[in-house]
């Protein structure tokens, strides 16, 4: 038994992504229509050309009807998936496998979330009836558990740690300012970020990703068919997904300075893609910066920095837009916004845009041909993790 991957067997030939943000004037229906038709147009195909659909949404609708009803899909298979904050990536992954299997010629993966209609701050979700013993903690509180653990383990003092997470928020806002589709399109000074009201632990409001509405979509075909639709397809090099025993909250051996699931997932993805030195080989990475300490820890889990050194690399600008390995060049969850079901596909949209040289002001020009997207759902010690590697050239 092994994870074999489907390297270079499928390719993305069209993508769409709505602006993320407060879409008071649009519902789920309008958002999926916008993203799907943008993706269809970019591939130069019609809705009828799509053989099957995968819809990712955490809570904005149930069943394939959430997609087929607004789009008026003509009696095709539509799967509806949920895998917490990695939902969009999960839709993409399953859609890719369907093409790789030979079952379909052309499929669509669509992610959508409409968060702003709830009227609440942050994420909400309904859990099954329970015994009431699970700790009632907000998402920022869960992820803020990383902060004292990381700082304690690596001897980073409180003020230094705050500088590190502030740099991450500052960078992602700066990148988002260059992105017309981002929810927050202005630079924010480090002073403002650092002094923002506290939400959980050392995390201020600017350390948290944007709560927003949005949708993104991808059209996927067999790699050998890709050039029929575009001169610049993006090839899928690796798809990895990991769910673990959720050991962190019950196992004292877990130290809250890493996501074990991400480490395993990244290893698998790098093996599938043939990557040995991700920091050197990747043109860019989109990672799951739901909260700033998450991005910090991910730099180590994804192999972009040695253990215990990511905080220094962050401060040194390694992951800035003009750094050695740009991370979240589109602004990330922080600045682009985080409509749960759409985020994984939004990350791929940036990889698509950058690798095709269409990123305008924020275009990365380091000559590399591979991009990584990383998406997770859950909390430290108990999460699901997705890693993809995509590239602008098929393997030689």
């Amino acid at each position: 038994m092994a994870s074999h991957g489907i390297r270079d067997r499928v390719a993305i030939v069209g993508m769409g992504c709505t602006p993320f943000g407060e879409h008071w004037d649009k519902g789920v229906d309008e958002l999926v229509i916008d993203s799907t038709h943008e993706a269809l147009a970019s591939a130069g195909v019609a809705l009828d050309d799509i053989d099957a659909f995968w819809l990712g949404t955490m809570g904005s609708g149930i069943s394939g009807l959430t997609l087929s009803r607004p789009l008026k899909i003509d009696y095709k298979p539509v799967s509806r998936l949920e895998n917490m904050c990695a939902t969009g990536s999960e839709a993409f992954r399953n859609a890719c496998y369907a093409v790789a299997s030979g079952a379909f010629d052309m499929v669509a993966a669509v992610g959508v979330e409409k968060l702003k209609d709830s009227g609440f701050s942050g994420l909400t979700g309904s859990a099954p009836p329970s015994d009431g013993t699970a700790a009632s903690m907000s998402a920022p509180a869960m992820f803020s558990l990383l902060a004292p653990a990381y700082a304690h383990k690596y001897g980073v003092d409180e003020a230094e740690f705050k500088d590190v997470i502030t740099h991450i928020a500052w960078k992602n806002h700066r990148n988002g300012a260059l992105n017309p589709r981002a929810q927050f399109r202005k630079e924010v000074s480090k002073e403002t970020i650092c002094n923002s009201p506290l939400i959980a632990g050392p995390l201020g409001i600017f350390d948290c990703s944007g709560v927003s509405d949005g949708s993104a979509a991808a059209i996927i075909v067999r790699a050998e068919d890709a050039h029929r639709y575009t001169d610049h397809p993006i090839y899928v090099k690796a798809l990895s997904f990991v769910a673990g025993p959720a050991a962190g909250p019950i196992d004292p051996d877990y130290d809250y300075t890493s996501f074990v699931e991400v480490v395993r997932c990244a290893e698998d993805a790098y093996k599938q893609a043939g990557i040995t030195d991700p920091r050197a080989e990747l043109a860019m990475a989109e990672v799951h910066d739901c909260f700033t300490p998450t991005e910090l820890v991910l730099m180590e889990d994804l192999g972009f920095a040695e253990r215990g050194t990511a905080w220094k690399e962050v401060l040194a600008g390694t992951f800035d837009l003009d750094g050695e390995l740009p991370v979240n060049p589109d602004g990330g969850l922080k600045s682009f916004g985080h409509p749960i079901g759409a985020s994984g596909l939004r990350m791929l949209f940036e990889a698509w845009t950058q690798l095709r040289g269409e990123a305008g002001e924020r275009q990365i020009q380091n000559g590399k041909k591979l991009a990584l997207t990383h998406n997770l759902g859950g909390a430290p010690g108990e999460c699901v993790s997705f890693v993809s590697v995509v590239g602008s050239e098929p393997a030689a």
Binding site: F120, S121, G132, T133, M137, S138, S144, I250, Y256
Partner: protein
């Protein structure tokens, strides 16, 4: 509070418990027995009975009168009045628990009892009201004092002693003027912790037992709708009686930082701006029953193949993956150390911010839970904590009881 008091009481003895009686004027539930939650939190056998004696302050006297060997009587009360009133200022919250027994091991033996009863309106509360009403103070005093004298005399007579033979004379009741008609010699405590209703005489007796010497006589007069007196002689067993924390030590360790607006919120007398978050869901009855040993008893499981502890209890071992090789293990009395923590300003709480931590238990096992009785500005990795049974919140009229961790109180952490 009742659970905490009962845990403290049972920690001092290995005598068997046959029944739990919960006494309070402020029961969390009507119709449903409240003592069953204490029973579950103490992980008592199902053959042990659990009963409430609730409503009147005098219920406590009845519970004492009828206690037999094996009765664990838990006196727990929250007393308050309307904002600005005397009852609010003089009310207090407290709990104390006593295990009644027979034979050589008892620390005090009952040597007498007396009672006097009358029907009159001194203090009353209409079901549903959050505060009680009182007739003119002088009227109650006039009605109560003769009855209390009658009870006192009956009690002394039944014990065959006079008041001069009493070493510790405790007087308790909600009517301060009636209380003052008797010359109590035991510390009154009301000025320090307020008048805790049914718990007040219990706490005073616990306080006396903290200092009593063998052979001394204790008389406790409880004035409520008449009066009851119980008389006790302290035995030699008191010498071996050691409490983790005396009443006076507990009073001295008070943080004393409760803000008045927080107090009013807890009492349900002040609606405050909630966070812009969904209200908590009420716990569901079937999963709460399925997991009674965990939710109420804080009973985890331990893998018999590799000794790994699991909180909550699990069927599959997280370390060795053995299936159904677990044995239950109660961790309510095991101390733990903070591995990491946070202060959550967003989550729902009656007392924001929530301080939450990941705690590692001595001897293995990890759990993520709320901290309580903690200063959010000083909590740090490595702090020592112990478990405490709490009401987390009430949703749709259902009280969510579970355990929180708090900084260890004693120096043996």
């Amino acid at each position: 509070m009742g659970v905490e008091a009962a845990r403290a009481a049972l920690a001092t003895t290995s005598a068997a418990v046959d029944e739990v009686v919960f006494v309070t004027t402020s029961p969390p539930y009507l119709d449903k027995t409240n003592a069953t939650a204490i029973h579950a939190a103490l992980a008592l056998d199902q053959g042990v009975g659990a009963y409430d004696a609730i409503g009147a302050v005098r219920s406590g006297s009845g519970a004492v009168r009828h206690a037999t060997g094996g009765s664990l009587v838990v006196f727990s009360d929250t007393r308050t009045g309307l904002p600005g009133g005397a009852d609010e200022a003089q009310g207090g919250d407290a709990a104390a628990a006593f295990l009644y027994g027979e034979g050589d091991g008892v620390i005090a033996e009952r040597i007498g009892f007396g009672s006097a009863t009358g029907e009159f309106l001194d203090r009353w509360r209409t079901p549903g009201d959050s505060y009680s009403k009182q007739w003119e103070e002088r009227f109650g005093e006039t009605a109560l004092v003769p009855l209390a004298e009658a009870a006192l005399n009956a009690g002394l007579k039944s014990a065959g002693i006079t008041l001069e033979d009493v070493d510790h004379f405790i007087v308790s009741g909600l009517h301060a003027r009636a209380n003052r008609a008797f010359k109590a010699t035991a510390p009154d405590l009301t000025a320090v912790i307020g008048n805790a209703g049914v718990a007040a005489p219990a706490v005073k007796l616990a306080d006396v037992l903290d200092v009593a010497e063998p052979g001394q006589v204790i008389a406790r007069l409880i004035i409520a709708d008449g009066a009851d007196i119980s008389l006790w002689r302290v035995t030699d067993a008191i010498k071996a009686y050691r409490r983790a924390s005396t009443v006076q030590e507990q009073i001295a360790s008070a943080r004393g930082t409760l803000a008045y607006n927080t107090f009013l919120t807890w009492r349900g007398m002040l609606d405050r701006e909630p966070p812009r978050r969904p209200d908590p869901e009420r716990p569901a009855a079937p999963p709460s029953q399925r997991r009674e040993e965990w939710k109420f008893g804080f009973t985890a499981s331990r893998c018999t193949k590799c000794e790994t502890r699991h909180l909550p209890p699990a069927r599959v071992c997280v370390k060795c993956r053995a299936v159904d090789e677990m044995v239950p293990e109660r961790l309510a009395d095991v101390k733990a150390t903070i591995a990491t923590f946070t202060v959550d300003h967003l989550g729902f709480s009656l007392s924001p911010p929530i301080v939450a931590a990941v705690i590692d238990f001595d001897g293995g096992g990890r759990f993520r839970c709320e901290l309580t009785d903690v200063d959010p500005t000083t909590v740090k990795i490595g702090d020592r904590v112990e478990m405490s049974f709490r009401r987390l919140f009430t949703a749709d009229g259902v009280h969510n009881y579970f355990w929180k961790a708090r900084p260890v109180r004693s120096s043996d952490g």
